[in-house]
Symmetry: C2
Subunit: 200 residues, 2 copies
């Protein structure tokens, strides 16, 4: 019997830098995760590619997938849908490969309810002021949108208690090292090691 | 209020290489653990120093300490007492420093019963045959003692389920990296991070 893969979920407030950290993790050739690409109805930002950063779909297409039961999680956030195809995750884990999911807080909690055995990592901003500066610096959002996002981030920080780990995104390389340490440690948990021994 | 230190317990079968791994961890200058030196009534092996590898004491002295309630754990193993002064651990953790304990399986389980919040790491031999070879190679034990230890190790492996993590001691440097990853990850557990936030 093939040993089941590990589900690793990276989440955190909007604008905290989840995408940057995720990209840095995947730049390491030693990393052999399958990355779960989310579907979204939001418009691509400059430089984002369809099928790489997200599957960019219409509202109609997204709602059809929900109806078909093909979303492990989905959420509407700042007026757009974000979601994760369920079949992809299940098949990849069953084949023995690890899956890395980068999703917003609403999505992570939905996945956790269905797959509590995953490793849930909450990426935190160094502080809320820093988050606001980051959004201003990005220059893609109006002041009103930024304030809405900062308020949402405060609410989301309260949800940290539902996660297994909290990683501060002070310096991307440090955040990456911490996440790699978490994954190494999780693979060494006695509950998982005993499963492997039982399957030999 | 000072944030309480982390108790890290490295344990595993006799002869698995706990001492070698522990020494390699402490060779890293970035490591700031307080090492808890055990007391024992066994005779020093060549190269071992009193007050560094162990506190080598007489049976009488050891039993006096037990009576005084100054042992967090103690055990009799292959005819000798091994134990850990309780006050040292408590004071160091309260001062905010991490404590690293390297002890046998019996001792680790006693400590866990009293301090379940610690991080319990089980060091495993690559296999039992390898353990026997290691003991033979050390050249300090008779064949009878070696067989007794291998049998004891088999019983101890069954106790892995009481630990949080299992680390294979295939290559010392790899075992050290895995243990460091575990400690990094444990410091990032949401339960500990939330404690820190609450104390700010």
């Amino acid at each position: 019997m093939t040993e089941r893969g590990l589900l690793i979920v990276l989440s955190g407030p909007s604008g905290v830098g989840k995408g940057t950290v995720r990209k840095a993790i995947f730049e390491d050739d030693a990393v052999d995760f399958r990355y779960s690409i989310s579907a979204t109805t939001r418009k691509p930002r400059p430089g984002e590619e369809n099928g790489k950063d997200y599957f960019f779909v219409s509202r109609e297409e997204f709602e059809d997938k929900i109806q078909a039961g093909d979303m492990l999680e989905y959420a509407e956030y700042v007026g757009n849908y974000y979601g994760t195809p369920r079949s992809f995750i299940e098949e990849t884990l069953a084949s023995g490969r690890d899956v890395f999911l980068e999703i917003d807080v609403q999505g992570a909690l939905q996945v956790k309810a269905k797959m509590p055995e995953g490793v849930y990592i909450f990426l935190t901003p160094p502080d809320i002021k820093n988050l606001r500066q980051r959004l201003i610096g990005r220059g893609t959002d109006s002041a009103e949108v930024i304030e809405k996002r900062v308020a949402a981030a405060r609410d989301e920080l309260k949800k940290m208690i539902n996660y297994n780990y909290a990683v501060e995104n002070d310096v991307v390389a440090h955040a990456v090292d911490r996440i790699k340490a978490i994954i190494t440690a999780e693979r060494l948990r006695v509950s998982r090691v005993l499963e492997q021994i039982a399957e030999q």
